[in-house]
Assembly symmetry: C2
C-alpha cells in the first residue's frame, strides 16, 4: 500500500488547512499528527504550496461529489434549491473542513485559487441559468440572479460554518442546532424566493 500515506497526508492537511488556516498549520505539526516526519510529507509534495494545491484539488472533488448530485438533480423550482441547501448542510456537518477550505481559499485568493475559482464559476454559472429560468417561468421572484446567488451562498456557508456566531446567539453548534439551522435557512430562502 504505497499511496496510502499520500492520502492520509491530504486528509490531515485538508482538516488542518480548512479548520485552522494555511499559515497557522506547520508541516511539523501535520507530520506529528500523522506519526511520520515532515520530510515524508515533502517527499510526496515537494513544497507546502504544492501540498496546498493538492489539498484544494481534493476539496474541490469532495465539494463536487457532495453537491453534484443535488445540482444535477432533475428537481425543479424551489425543490432544487432545497436539495442544494440540504446537501451543503450535510457536508458542513460531515466535513466542515471542506467548506472551511473553500472559504479560506476564496478569501485569500492566492495563486492556488485558480482551480477552485474555475470550478466554482462552473457551478455558479449553472446556478445562474437555473435561477434565471425559474424567474422567467414566474416561479421565483424577480431579483438580480447573481446577487441573489451571492446572498444565498453567503447565508448558507455562513450558517453552516460560523459556530462562534451561533454561540453568540445562544445556540450550541451541535447537530440538533444544525438541523434547526438548516430548516430555518430553507424557510428563509423559500420566503425570499417564492413569488406570491
Amino acid at each position: 500500500m504505497p499511496a496510502q500515506t499520500r492520502d492520509r497526508i491530504l486528509d490531515t492537511s485538508l482538516a488542518a488547512f480548512g479548520l485552522r488556516g494555511y499559515d497557522s498549520t506547520s508541516l511539523d505539526e501535520l507530520a506529528s499528527d500523522l506519526g511520520i516526519t515532515k520530510q515524508a510529507i515533502l517527499y510526496h509534495f515537494s513544497s507546502k504550496e504544492h501540498l496546498l494545491n493538492a489539498t484544494i484539488d481534493l476539496a474541490v472533488k469532495e465539494l463536487g461529489s457532495a453537491l453534484g448530485g443535488a445540482s444535477k438533480s432533475q428537481s425543479r423550482g424551489f425543490q432544487r434549491i432545497e436539495d442544494l441547501v440540504r446537501a451543503t448542510f450535510s457536508l458542513a456537518a460531515r466535513r466542515p473542513e471542506v467548506l472551511g477550505l473553500v472559504r479560506l481559499v476564496s478569501r485569500q485568493g492566492g495563486a492556488a485559487s485558480g482551480e477552485l475559482a474555475s470550478a466554482m464559476s462552473v457551478m455558479l454559472g449553472e446556478a445562474v441559468r437555473f435561477v434565471e429560468a425559474e424567474m422567467a417561468a414566474g416561479r421565483f421572484r424577480r431579483l438580480e440572479p447573481r446577487m441573489l446567488l451571492l446572498a444565498v451562498y453567503s447565508a448558507v456557508i455562513g450558517v453552516a460554518t460560523e459556530p462562534e456566531v451561533m454561540r453568540a446567539l445562544g445556540l450550541e453548534p451541535d447537530l440538533r442546532s444544525l438541523v434547526k439551522a438548516r430548516r430555518e435557512t430553507i424557510e428563509f430562502l423559500r420566503a425570499a424566493l417564492i413569488a406570491d
Copy 2:
C-alpha cells in the same frame, strides 16, 4: 505627540490582522510598514497577543460606532433593517478590515474573543428582541428570530466581504458593484421578511 505611534500601530495591525489574518502577519512586517522597529511595537504592547487584544478592542469600538447609529435609530419595521444593512455595507466599503477582523475572531474564537463575543451578544440580543417585536406586530414574517438573524448576518457579511466569490460570479468587487450588492441584498431581505 506621544500616543500617536500607539494609534498608528493599532491602525496598521487592524488592517493587517483583518485582511490577512493573525498568523500571516509578523511583527517585523508591521514594523517595517510603519517605519519603526519591531521593538517599538513591543514597547507599546507587551506581546503579539496583547496587540491582538487591543486591535480587537479598536475593531469593536469602530463596529459599535458604525452600526450604533443605525441600531439605535427610532425607525421601525423593515426600515430599521435597511438602515443596518446600509451601515454595514458602508463600513465594508470604508474599512473592510474591521469586518474582516470580526469574522476572523468569531471563527477562531481564541481567548481574546471574549470581548468581541460579548459585544456581539449585546447587539444580537437587541436585534432578537426587535425582530420578535416586529413579528408579534405582524410586520415581519414568522420565522425563528435567532436563525433568521444568523442568516441575515451571514448574507450581509458574506456579500460585503467575499470579493473572490463576487469575481467568480463575474462581478468586479468595485464600489459600483458594492452599491448594487447592497441594493439587491436589501431587496432580498425585504422579500424574505415582509409578511404578505
